[in-house]
């Protein structure tokens, strides 16, 4: 079954959707959308370093994404203007990464695979790493769920209950770095943030509790992966963007549906 490249692609995509669903909810709740972008863009620099030093791409992207996330979190804590800081760091990291790749001797890299993902090229080893990474992220979030939720609601309230908001922030930062590393192959650095935010935003329209929202976000992510792969196959479209297109369409439908329901009950 795993010999089929389509099956491997589908499984890898589903594994990532299971992690991005709940993590994406926290990204939405804590308004970390641009933060996710910056971390993902830094992954390209990680790719360049990994190729240059001949280490695993997963390790390279994860380490650079983690460093980026921690730098951003530290600067934010010191009262820097977030949008400017993130704008500078995110695009600088992307630009440095792209320039660094061009310096690599004897390496002809297909950059589009890293920018937009190449889900159809997922190997058995890739699949194992993606599944492991996603399971790690999901486990981390489930384990810390109450604390994460409380720290998201109010850092003061969390502190009064003996929960350290800084520690919970660190959990999310770590989870984000792992997700970036495993999702790079699926949707690419430019669209990882979309995979985090769009299913969660679509789920918001349907959910009445945080847990429901995380569950819906997982399901919508999974449907997007399946639909995107089918679209890619039928119309020969690029697979990563196709997944995001399906997610965006689901977002449109749930948003219009929610508006319709609200209008009716308002009358």
């Amino acid at each position: 079954m795993l010999d089929d490249f389509l099956m491997r692609a589908l499984l890898a995509g589903l594994a990532v959707a299971i992690a991005t669903g709940p993590l994406g909810c926290f990204v939405v709740w804590r308004r970390m959308a641009y933060f996710g972008d910056a971390t993902a863009h830094a992954a390209i620099l990680g790719v360049a370093l990994a190729l240059g030093f001949q280490i695993s791409i997963f390790i390279g992207t994860m380490v650079v994404a983690l460093i980026m996330a921690m730098v951003v979190a530290t600067l934010a804590g010191r009262g820097w203007a977030m949008d400017t800081t993130l704008g500078v760091l995110a695009h600088s990291a992307l630009a440095f990464g792209l320039v660094a790749v061009s310096f690599l001797p004897n390496v002809r890299v297909d950059l589009t695979a890293y920018l937009f993902g190449d889900i159809l090229a997922v190997s058995r080893v890739d699949l194992a790493v993606i599944a492991l990474g996603s399971a790690l992220v999901l486990g981390l979030i489930l384990w810390r769920w109450q604390g994460l939720l409380m720290a998201t609601l109010s850092e003061d309230l969390a502190q009064s209950a003996g929960i350290h908001p800084g520690r919970e922030r660190m959990v999310l930062t770590l989870a984000l770095a792992v997700v970036v590393a495993v999702a790079l192959k699926i949707v690419g650095a430019l669209l990882i943030a979309a995979l985090l935010i769009i299913p969660a935003a679509a789920a918001r329209n349907l959910a009445r509790s945080p847990e429901m929202m995380a569950g819906f976000a997982m399901s919508i992510g999974a449907i997007s992966v399946y639909g995107g792969l089918q679209l890619s196959l039928a119309q020969d479209t690029p697979s990563g963007p196709s997944i995001v297109v399906v997610a965006a369409l689901i977002f449109l439908v749930t948003t219009l549906g929610a508006a319709l329901v609200q209008n009716r009950s308002g009358r």
Binding site: W29, R31, L153, D156, P210, M212, M213
Partner: protein, 252 residues
């Protein structure tokens, strides 16, 4: 042994001194109210006692295993986060439906369990915040301007409720307020601060203290209830009026 105490605590935010020379302690079952004008460091004092901010100097001692029921002044709910009342009450630890129903009944909002937090009125929201704090079986309730945004009868009812539950639960109450004419009667001790502790003692003693009058601009002693104390008093930031904390009104 006191529940929380502070010795010689100072707090600064980005170089600006918010609090200094703070000696404070609160015992089990005590009601202490901190009063002071806007920007006087009331909330900072609460936050340093909670452990949200670290003191720049001095030390904070909390009793081992102390359970704090914190009721914040405001709680901003991100519209992206759906939060039913029943889910909110289960933070930080899961609660049974019966326990939730009981506590909601106790604080006077029995029918809101299924509602979203965002749809509650100001008064209901404040009571739900209190209900969540009570579910943690606190040794001390810490309330930061809990009645901001409530009308006069609402404020009186809320403080009556606090007084009742603290007897039932035998917990201390530390609240921060500027509407002291309601708070004062129930408090064992009032601490008047403006960066430092200006004066402290029983409510009547503080009310008559010259430091308190200077701070709140009250000219007529005893006419407290008629007075909407103003916050435009003149009290220099560098606190050049030279008084010691150990004046005659210090609570024994």
């Amino acid at each position: 042994m006191s529940l929380i105490s502070a010795q010689g605590v100072a707090v600064s935010y980005t170089g600006r001194r918010a609090l200094f020379d703070i000696d404070f302690s609160i015992d089990r079952g005590e009601i202490v109210t901190i009063v002071g004008p806007n920007g006087s460091g009331k909330t900072s004092l609460l936050r340093v006692l909670l452990g949200v901010v670290a003191p720049e100097t001095g030390r904070i001692t909390r009793a081992k295993g102390l359970r704090i029921g914190y009721v914040p002044q405001r709680l901003h709910l991100d519209p992206g986060l759906p939060m039913p009342v029943s889910r909110f009450l289960s933070l930080p630890s899961r609660q049974s439906p019966q326990a939730m129903a009981e506590v909601l009944d106790r604080v006077g909002v029995p029918d809101v369990a299924g509602q979203n937090m965002a749809t509650l009125s100001g008064g209901q929201f404040q009571r739900v915040l209190l209900a969540r704090a009570l579910l943690t079986r606190p040794d001390i309730l810490m309330l930061d301007e809990p009645t901001a945004g409530l009308d006069q009868p609402g404020v009186a009812a809320f403080y009556r409720l606090i007084d009742e539950v603290r007897h039932e639960m035998n917990c201390a109450v530390l609240s921060v307020s500027h509407d002291l004419h309601v708070v004062m009667s129930a408090s064992d001790r009032v601490i008047c601060i403006n960066g430092h502790i200006c004066c402290e003692g029983a409510p009547q003693i503080v009310r008559d203290a010259p430091e308190y009058r200077a701070l709140f601009g009250l000219g007529t002693g005893g006419a407290l209830a008629l007075y909407q104390h103003s916050h435009d008093h003149v009290h220099d930031d560098n606190c050049d009026h030279d008084h010691t904390k150990d004046h005659a009104h210090h609570a024994g």
